[in-house]
Symmetry: C2
Subunit: 507 residues, 2 copies
């Protein structure tokens, strides 16, 4: 074991010791912990925003909004944790009556089951979770961000691998989390902060005590961690959110209703925060029409007026410049609008490119995300070409349709094709602006994420870090409170097939 491995081993040993103690904290205590973190962040908000602005070049007002969103995540996932719906409690107990339809003595024998055992199932924490924060959201998807909030709500200790591009911010947030733990008398190992690079990340993912991984970042980074985790002697779940092209399909009548209005919205959505959002719309697909001309005209004329902005870090800027150049190098791809002034070496270059459907279909390089303020407009001759473009796409976090109701009634194939490829399906709007509510789905088929069955945003994300355990024929007093007859926590439970918040015997 070398020095690095010894250091990581110490972290995981501590997390594992803590895991048992923390898993036994009540839902109420976990919820209070999440609220306390939100409060500690509030106390430090000015220094947090200053530090993050310095490290990420994001605007302070944008960071203030993000910090508030992060606090809301902590608070609202804590509320969800306490309410307990996410535990998916199922209780089946012998009831004498089986599931027979009373009054139907002719029911085939296989439709009747007499319950034999007292079986009670709920979700329990997986154990230590390693979280890799995102460069583009120093608060909401990083140290005390969504993955951390979900894992803590699930009852798992968290080890954050700090993003090197905002290590000072990460350290300050970590202190806020650790102070919250101290205030509530939680064991120190409930949250640990590790700084370093790829080697530290690899050692964390490979450590046998690590039970799950949350990641937000690039496809290359996410896939590398996924592969490491799946090739372990004991594979572990990895939820990696790896970005997306977020295609937007513009049907003529829908677009014509307000071509300039949509153009304004999309200009903002493509270029806001230098296009450094995983839901930035990077692909705009339309059918040749006067409305598409107006839309294109507005965007191409105005995108060059958006001031350049220093990107998150030099690596992101370099990747943006390379990927932008690769797209523009494709024959039949032209620049429709961009900056004409010179920019700094780490600055974004807001760009609208354009091409036709044939070129798009022939060049897979155009299907990949260009992270930054870049969008490609694909002009299609007709609905058939538009459908071909849709069917050529990989998995996406979002797909968007700008269309009238009547247009949609006439394109079921397009709807089917897009729905099969995304986690969130948007009508007449922009994909940026991820709302933190239970109905949100922030995920999608690969390569958007490594597991389309889970979400990174909303309290359903807690389930990524928990697993069901069924207790068979246990005494009431030895069961977790969540499963006891009296339902002391007032949780919704499915009892002999019926959802209820009642005590057993009263439903």
């Amino acid at each position: 074991m070398n020095d690095l491995q010894a250091r990581i081993d110490k972290v995981l040993q501590q997390a594992t010791r803590t895991a048992l103690a923390y898993a036994q904290r009540t839902l109420e205590e976990r919820s209070a912990f999440l609220s306390a973190i939100a409060e500690e962040l509030e106390k430090r908000s000015d220094v947090l925003i200053d530090t993050a602005a310095g490290e990420t070049h994001l605007a302070p007002e944008r960071l203030r909004t993000e910090l508030q969103r992060t606090q809301w995540q902590l608070y609202s996932y804590g509320q969800a944790c306490r309410e307990g719906d996410w535990l998916d409690i199922r209780i089946d107990i012998p009831d004498g009556a089986g599931t027979e339809n009373p009054g139907n003595g002719d029911a085939p024998s296989w439709t009747v089951h007499r319950r034999q055992n007292d079986l009670r199932k709920m979700l329990l924490p997986l154990g230590p979770v390693v979280v890799f924060g995102a460069s583009n959201f120093p608060f909401a998807y990083s140290t005390a961000g969504g993955d951390t909030a979900c894992a803590l709500a699930a009852g798992c200790p968290v080890i954050v691998k700090a993003h090197p591009a905002h290590a000072a911010t990460s350290r300050l947030v970590a202190e806020a989390v650790q102070e919250s733990a101290r205030r509530l008398g939680l064991p120190e190992g409930v949250f640990q902060h590790v700084e370093g690079g790829f080697d530290e990340g690899q050692a964390l993912v490979l450590h046998p005590h690590t039970r799950a991984v949350g990641f937000t970042g690039s496809l290359e980074g996410g896939r590398a961690l996924f592969d490491l985790a799946q090739q372990r002697p004991v594979p572990i779940p990895v939820f990696a959110e790896m970005g997306s092209v977020n295609p937007v399909f513009l049907l003529p009548e829908g677009l014509a209703a307000d071509a300039e209005g949509f153009a304004k919205q999309f200009l903002q959505s493509v270029t806001g925060s230098a296009g450094q959002f995983c839901t930035k719309p990077g692909l705009l697909v339309g059918i040749d029409s006067p409305a598409l001309d107006s839309f294109r005209e507005y965007l191409s004329e105005n995108i060059g007026l958006v001031p350049p902005q220093e990107m998150l870090h030099p690596g992101i800027a370099k990747a943006f410049q390379h990927k932008r150049a690769d797209a523009l190098a494709v024959e039949s791809v032209a620049v429709a609008g961009t900056l004409s002034c010179p920019v700094g070496r780490n600055d974004s270059i807001p760009t609208l490119a354009e091409t036709d459907a044939a070129a798009f279909l022939a060049n897979p390089v155009l299907h990949h995300e260009v992270f930054g303020p870049f969008a490609l407009l694909v002009r299609c001759a007709d609905g058939g070409e538009l459908l071909s473009v849709a069917e050529a796409l990989e998995g996406q976090i979002t797909c968007t349709l700008v269309a009238t109701t009547d247009e949609l009634r006439h394109c079921p194939q397009l709807i089917t094709a897009l729905q099969a490829r995304c986690g969130r399906f948007i009508r007449n709007g922009v994909p940026t602006g991820v709302e933190v509510v239970p109905a949100m789905m922030h995920g999608g088929p690969y390569p958007a994420t490594t597991d389309s069955r889970f979400t990174a945003v909303g309290a359903d994300g807690i389930r990524r870090f928990a697993r069901p355990v069924c207790y068979q024929n246990w005494e009431n007093e030895l069961l977790p409170a969540e499963l006891q007859n009296e339902n002391p926590l007032g949780i919704w439970r499915t009892v002999n097939g019926v959802l209820s918040r009642d005590a057993l015997g009263n439903n």
Copy 2:
């Protein structure tokens, strides 16, 4: 593309065409399909049982019970499909009021969120699912078994790779499924049956149109398919249930309450169906005491009286003989009871072996499953040794505790250790006899399965094959019925944080 790949490609092309049509069938139609399969199995029950008995050497009465269980699975998962709780519907709509606590104007700003968008989320099918049946359950975990029932309920077309050890049975079951599809006017590709060996299996898992895999079988087989699936350019979920040692911990007072009664139950549980159950208790761990002596004495004297039985197929018999020999070859492991008569070359040899805690801890070979009628009794000097054995174990489908309530009050560490290692935690009973109800958990930490977050038994297993999609700002008429304002299907939905079966506006 070689011949085999071309054949598999044709299967997946058909499944993919069908996927779109089948996904649009209503929950009611899917439910009717599952019930129809149960009916078609009933019509063929005699020939099915005869054929399976010939192929697997399992007793006809055992197969009849299994067939009935298979029908119950189809029926009850169909009912669950229709009721729709599994869709995990969440609806968040702007309500003007946000989530503010009325009457608490002092609430911190981050505890308030005003919903911006109309967001509605439900689970949709993943697409074509490949199912690998188990050798030991020709009905319940095979062609029309649990994985198939779950995938069809989720709205996914199924491709079954028939188990070569009961190919004729599989073909007959496939005909029953296909006849049900025809009767209900479902497209042919909703269920396809592929015979062959490892090459066919590999080609099915690697085909780009395959969206998920269900597997029940050995650790070697499951891990090989898991690795193939994770190393694809587009990785896909694999739920592989790979068996277990199913340890049983016998505390002195609990055992003393009825040492011979428990011994009788465990004798049956170890040797029933020649021990060919994934929940067979293969490890019995006790503390030296007169009760343990009685328990051991009954088992050792009677296990030799259990008649040998031809095992499922020659490969299973050979593996059993090898793994049994490997365990018995360990120094300090002795035979406590076994057959004295000669047996046929493919017959089981019911065996109780015994050893002490030190030998168990020092020899990982003793931690692995011996599939067949074999159990190892580990005698511990005290509770400390017993705990060490528990903490040395891998992931399990089940763990069992035989103990009094008072004993359990005094061994929280043992409870914690076992709970962390299993999917189902049993008190004073045997692990065989998996009840098909929603509260069942049939799964567990690796190597019991490849993903401890899902179950192979019970309607929650449907979720293995579905993923959430969120519709943002869609017109009511264009939404799936499940998400429409009127709640025409009467499904439980979480609307602005509150579970309800009402139409929107009425809750």
